[in-house]
């Protein structure tokens, strides 16, 4: 699992049937300082989250297991809404803005 911030939403009218009703969100993985880590990606929001929220996501096969239908073509899923992270004594999460 990785830490990430939701930066936007992705809307698709036509999609694979097993993905009906699952929100897709554009997320930016973060490192332990809250700085960006790697490329942005699209993830299924299994847990309700919105732009600006700090989240954790799981990638790979486990992402599909988190979805209501487990055989779906998904490689990243948001599995938790993160309130705060304490890292090296500093708190990241609260009041941080989407850059």
């Amino acid at each position: 699992m990785y830490l990430a911030r939701v930066t936007g939403r992705v809307v698709t009218t036509q999609r694979y049937p097993g993905l009906d009703g699952i929100a897709l969100q554009w997320i930016q993985p973060l490192d332990e300082d809250g700085k960006t880590m790697g490329e942005q990606l699209v993830a299924c929001a299994v847990v309700s989250t919105g732009p600006g929220d700090l989240v954790m996501f799981v990638d790979g096969r486990e992402a599909a297991l988190a979805c209501p239908t487990t055989f779906v073509p998904v490689d990243a899923a948001i599995v938790g809404f993160v309130e705060q992270v304490e890292s090296k004594g500093a708190i990241i999460g609260r009041k941080a803005r989407v850059s």
């Binding site: 699992m1 830490l3 332990e32 954790m56 799981v58 486990e62 487990t70 599995v79 809404f81 993160v82």
Partner: protein
């Protein structure tokens, strides 16, 4: 599996069911001598680790599901051990103290 350093704690009030009641820690992969390597992750603690500990992390779904005893758990990053020391041809890297010490063989 890889060696990692526990940097902090993660508080997630809303999460999938399998994560309920589990301790989540922020970990960063390190080399035996303590240099940063790889991507920072969030791991489930199954070894009683704490902030500052050097730990052994498994990042593979089948193993994680086996440990959790749940064949459909959407979890793959698990702390499975707290590292005491690493031995190599250069000597022994002692991870029990806050600063990693190299003890020559």
């Amino acid at each position: 599996m890889f060696l990692a350093e526990v940097l902090g704690t993660v508080v997630a009030p809303v999460q999938i069911k399998v994560l309920d009641g589990e301790k989540l820690l922020l970990v960063r992969p390190i080399t035996p001598d303590g240099k940063r390597t790889g991507k920072t992750r969030i791991a489930l603690d199954r070894a009683g680790a704490g902030v500052g500990d050097r730990v052994l992390v498994v990042d593979e779904g089948n193993s994680a599901r086996g440990v959790l005893g749940n064949p459909t758990a959407a979890v793959k990053t698990l702390i499975v051990g707290v590292v005491d020391y690493v031995e190599s041809e250069r000597g022994r890297y002692d991870h029990r103290s806050p600063r990693i010490k190299l003890v020559a063989p």
